[in-house]
Symmetry: C2
Subunit: 337 residues, 2 copies
């Protein structure tokens, strides 16, 4: 393992300190809560608060996505570990403007437990109405009939994007939650892992894989995938991933989709664009139109090699959420003209 | 070597096709010139054209930096190889609006030869006035007295940023060139390499390094650095890099700088922010103020591990260039309020 770090037990603190030093015009720490950041900009009264969070090591997710047009606050866990209820509750209190708060997080046992407890405490102790949307986009992690058991992977970025746009536009908690759930429902992801990442504290690889192998459906923390096999060409791998998505969620001729090709950390842009290119060809063939594309490192696992493809079927409502401008430290998008 | 590619001899074409398929609202290919992309947006009459380019494998550089507020066109070479004069001349002709064209490229033998030939042909055959600014920011690559021999590394991003802003603001070729040269003069970079990248066609690593070593001053294509040694803590490595810069270009108490912490490809954001954090502490100590920071993968070498630090001393003129809004496929910046 080779990393530019100091004390391995302090890597999250070092990152957060650097992040705050770089982006104090965007974010600030909640006093006394070193793992709770909120936007440092004025937010509208009565705006629904958007709270995200999860383990560290997935940057830009999650802390990079607090800013104008995205989340209002983030609770930051240890490496690949959920934040405890404390910082989540603190963020909730800090971002509530009287219109309630929406939690968006991936479907992991620890996150569910801690975000649920924080929601309960926030309602009981702070009198804040909290809704939660648990992201379940990873097709590989459970069969179709058990979609609610699926892991949340890169798609959490899109749910955050769309929900935050609706919150910024002034919609109420029920509407923002509904649009967030709809985004999750109309979205599927499939990933492939090529090389592991190394955990700073242990120095150990997140999973074992041979020099000529890939693992289809591998989780962001090294959770086993659905199939290990010889690494194939980008086109073949893309065919597999896109077909698995289309079998799970048929998309009709004439429908519009948002495509997210997400690098896991060390995958060069050249490869991500190659994967996107094949995805485009496949969608062209079935008459599916790409409304918008995101290609890059959106939800990573340190320096893991590989990528995931996410398809989100968008109607006019979701397009509005996608189009909304964003200004975050690690993600900026101009509004659609 | 593990890569999501198809035919290794076709990786640049696959990338460009995917890029054009994703970003046709930003860029288009010049007819008959498969390695020459220009902005697809209307540019102002009499605007100075900005042309960039270089070898592939450094994405987002260079093709990702064509767009509003950045370059008008890019000539794309093979992997780590300069584009030939043909596409450079084609881009020059396509982006010239009657106000002349500025070339910005790194100080490499091939680039110098090809961009110089393209400039000559453009002037002779197409009657276009061309200026060139050769970026020489890498402190490690030649002694101070021979700055003109230094390689251009991540700093090319900043020269492009500032010069393109001045071109967009309507300044003439002499002024835009002067500001670009000034940016290059007031800027220094130092890098460290941890792990090599693998070249798609050969499958070979770009350089050899042991499991516990780092190489200070290593070039973007594996050119030898100034010192190989045991990998140290992020703080120690940062101290070394920043001190080498400050020895070469003393920065005074009260001056403002732009800091660019550039990941080489596989370096997690967590590490880049840790390096930034130490840089900030060091600058604080000598009373130097950070005006703006860029932290992320701006000029890479595929999946190389490591980073570089660039310091650019900015006065009001350069600040204006830094502040100008940008909208490119791979880099978006909101204007400063």
């Amino acid at each position: 393992m080779k990393k530019l770090i100091n004390n391995p037990n302090n890597v999250v603190e070092d990152m957060i300190e650097g992040y705050l030093n770089a982006h104090s015009d965007y974010v600030k720490m909640i006093e006394g809560e070193s793992r709770a950041l909120i936007t440092s900009r004025e937010t509208t009264k009565n705006k629904v608060g958007i709270v995200i969070g999860g383990g560290s090591g997935h940057e830009p997710a999650f802390l990079g996505y607090v800013g104008d047009g995205m989340a209002d606050g983030v609770a930051i866990g240890n490496i690949f570990a959920s934040p405890p209820p404390g910082p989540i509750q603190a963020v909730t209190k800090a971002v509530d403007k009287g219109a309630g708060v929406l939690y968006i997080y991936g479907n992991y046992t620890g996150d569910i437990m801690n975000f649920s407890m924080a929601a309960e405490f926030s309602e009981l102790e702070d009198d804040i109405e909290v809704e939660s949307v648990v992201v379940t986009d990873d097709v590989a992690s459970a069969p179709k009939e058990e979609k609610e058991k699926r892991r949340g992977i890169a798609g959490s970025f899109l749910v955050n994007k769309v929900a935050s746009a609706y919150a910024a536009m002034g919609y109420d908690l029920q509407e923002v939650s509904r649009v967030a759930r709809k985004t999750n429902e109309q979205m599927r992801s499939m990933g492939v892992g090529l090389t592991p990442c190394y955990l700073p504290q242990t120095g150990k690889p997140s999973f074992e894989i041979s020099e000529d192998e890939m693992e289809i459906g591998l989780g962001h923390h090294g959770e086993p995938g659905v199939e290990k096999g010889k690494l194939e060409s980008a086109d073949k791998v893309t065919e597999r991933l896109v077909n698995d998505i289309l079998i799970d969620m048929p998309i009709e001729n004439g429908q519009d989709v948002v495509v997210l090709v997400n690098g896991l950390g060390s995958t060069p842009a050249m490869e991500l664009y190659t994967v996107f290119n094949k995805t485009k060809h496949m969608l062209d063939k079935i008459g599916v139109n790409i409304y918008h594309s995101y290609i890059g490192d959106y939800v990573t696992s340190f320096e893991m090699g590989g990528c995931s493809i996410t398809l989100l079927v968008v109607d006019d409502e979701l397009k509005r959420g996608i189009d909304y401008p964003v200004d975050c430290p690690m993600f900026v998008q101009k509004g659609r003209a």
